[in-house]
């Protein structure tokens, strides 16, 4: 039985791999889609975030066991926020 921390690590690692694969291979089945992961497995794929999230929440109601990624997106891109807190 995996601990919650182990599940979260699996989720993050799977998301990282999916994103790497889709950035390398635009023909990947996940390319350009929102991918929902629960307990270390892909359980929801959709064209938009809201649709993916609704499906993911139905399959795994515990948010701590869930993770998501927008496949093919370059997450190293810096997003500028200019309002000074």
């Amino acid at each position: 039985m995996l601990t919650l921390a182990e599940i979260q690590t699996l989720n993050r690692e799977l998301a990282r791999k999916i994103n790497e694969d889709t950035l390398r291979n635009p023909k990947s089945p996940y390319a350009g889609h929102f991918v929902g992961i629960a307990n270390g497995q892909v359980v929801a794929v959709a064209d938009d975030l809201d649709d993916m999230a609704r499906r993911l929440e139905q399959i795994e109601p515990d948010p701590a066991r869930c993770f998501s990624v927008e496949a093919s997106r370059d997450y190293s891109e810096v997003v500028d926020i200019w309002s000074v807190p």
Partner: protein, 132 residues
Amino acid sequence: MPRVCWPLINNRPAVQVVLTLALGGQPYTRNLLADTGAGSRWSGPDLLLDEQDCLLCGGFAHQPIVLGGAYIGSFPTYVVRVEIPALGFNSRVRAVAVSRFPAGFDGMACFRFLNQFIYGNFSDPNQFGLEK
């Protein structure tokens, strides 16, 4: 088209969104700075929120996002459900978890979020509003 307007907070444009507490399901209202200079149309988050708010409202983790400018570095990101009842808006959005906001605000609404509405002061300089 439905429209909702809010008074400025500290003379800055505000948007009021409703989250839902995971325990008990009560509405949890947050006042956000409407910041069209935060992010762009296609990249970046919809909102910036306190991490505790994301977790209290049942947000699940999304791939972290790198911010620059007022916030620098990689920040945890969550998918949270957001409502604006007067507009019938109810959707999951990406919220980056940061800990400091301009005085009087609980977070920020980024350009990506605001740009799905018609936004502005609708001829009253004391308010800011959204129309869907």
